[in-house]
Amino acid sequence: MTATATATARRPDAAAAPAEDVIEVQGMAAGYDGAWILEDIGFTARRGEVLGVLGRNGVGKSTLVNGLLNLGPTVTGRVLIKGRDVVGWPTHRIVRLGIGIVPQGRGIFGNLTVEDNLRLALFGARATAANGWTLERVYDSFAKLGQRRHVSASALSGGERQLLAMSRALLTQADILILDEPTEGLAPMVVEEVIVGNIRSLRREGVTVILVEQNIALALDLADQAIVLSDGGIVFCGSADTLKQREDIQNEYLGV
């Protein structure tokens, strides 16, 4: 039922310089109040790659990514982020290693302005690997946010909220970005513009992306590697190209 083999297939263009494992999870279990949702989880994510995390609704994808940051679930096992075992660390210390998250639902503070939402991340940022994100760079990259910087964040559209949440996570000086269902509730045009384009450009800049998605086609398009969760464990771990071919897995575990 569970497969702990790490993904080994490598992007052809990355073959020259073996990319470092920025996330390495071994024998991880995660759950709530003593009831384990996930057990014996193992996978790795390499620098600059997009890792898709797939599985049916309620299978534990959010539990997994929140668990990496100690953001709610109870976690045991080993979670190495840039070589540091972070199990039991308070969330803010893990984040300061340079790993940012856009939680499911985005976590935008509607009682703050757009700019204050962004400044919160700068306030906390102590990442060792500063990635050079500043307010100016965010406003340059996403003019919409710049125009609405003094507006209450509750006034933003769904796509703008997603942009804000992504920028905010990057402003923690993250070079690893977790996106938990970023396309949820967005119109297809907005998905193409806000999600697809930006994940591609982040990948070009060397940001590692953990992409939790219900939209399988989109995830397999963007991802280099993928893991599939089912029944509390990993049932597929390998390259996204392989998973594209494996219609059996897609049918059985993803309900395609």
Binding site: G110, N111, L120, F123, G124, A125
Partner: protein, 289 residues
């Protein structure tokens, strides 16, 4: 006419003291979901600090920062132990802990500062009266009124216009997401508790020249501060301000109309407001994530 103007000024002065002590209580309750019944003790501690400071002959105006720092230091210690152990526990446990502590603090202060009514030696500069519409009014009260307005404006600026305020307002909504932005929310809690205790003591220092300092005042102030917070609506700056004004005016004018029933009358007004608006005058900002 003059009489009403003077009484209104008195009401404003009283409202300022209620506002400052209520704000400290309110921010801790809305941010940390922590019921701190030692808030009245910190008020009284601040009053005693002011009384003793002004008796030493040191520059009088330093009594106020001294009271603030004394209260904030007490807050830092209390946060370390035992408050942190109770932040995540039920309100009943918090009430038991902090009520017990407030009784201990009351005894300590009675032992340390005596059971008599202690009044500060108000400095020359603030002693006399000014004539407002030909009626004398103590300068010290005007000083309290002005300081309170300046402090309240400063606090409003801090919470509404600075990044520290934004961090606190975000924590009120969801501390987990604030943590996920790399911010140590435990430190935020500690800082807010210290600020709250400092404000409690500072309002005590300002109030000492009007209400003096004596055993039992801690409880009276605690109850009034609680009424202000609950009636104003938890977690709203403007709510606390409006309700401090309402309570300040009803108490002052109720005393004027009928001294023996004044407490009953003002409590009835506050209860009436709560029946009319169960969430307080200004309902707290909705959780928005």
């Amino acid at each position: 006419m003059e009489y009403y103007v003077i009484q209104s000024l008195n009401a404003l002065v009283f409202a300022v003291i209620l506002l400052l002590s209520g704000l400290g209580l309110s921010v801790v309750m809305s941010l940390m979901n922590f019921v701190n019944l030692t808030h009245g003790s910190l008020y009284l501690l601040g009053s005693y600090i002011a009384v003793f400071w002004m008796a030493t002959g040191q520059p009088w105006y330093l009594a106020f920062p001294a009271a603030f720092l004394g209260g904030a230091a007490a807050g830092l210690i209390l946060d370390r132990f035992p408050f942190q152990l109770f932040y995540a526990r039920t309100h009943l446990m918090q009430v038991l802990l902090t009520y017990g502590l407030s009784v201990v603090f009351a005894d300590l202060m009675r032992w340390g500062f005596g059971a008599h009514i202690a009044t500060p030696q108000i400095p020359e500069l603030l002693r006399g009266v000014v004539f407002i519409l030909d009626t004398p009014f103590p300068i010290y009260r005007l000083f309290v009124l002005a300081s309170g307005v300046v402090l309240a404006a400063g606090l409003w600026f801090l919470f509404d216009r600075t990044i520290w305020g934004a961090v606190v307002r975000a924590c009120v909504v969801d501390t987990r997401i604030v943590e996920a932005l790399g911010i140590n929310t435990k430190h935020v809690f500690t800082a807010v508790l210290a600020l709250s205790c400092g404000l409690g003591a500072l309002s005590g220092a300002l109030g000492s020249g009007i209400l003096a300092a004596f055993p039992g005042l801690d409880e009276e102030i605690l109850i009034l501060a609680f009424i202000v917070v609950v009636v104003g609506g938890l977690g709203t700056f403007s709510g606390v301000a409006v309700s401090a004004l309402v309570l300040g005016f009803t108490m002052t004018f109720a005393k004027m109309l009928s001294p023996e029933f004044s407490n009953l009358m003002s409590l009835a007004v506050m209860a009436g407001i709560l029946i009319w608006r169960p969430d307080g005058l200004i309902a707290a900002t909705r959780r928005e994530v």
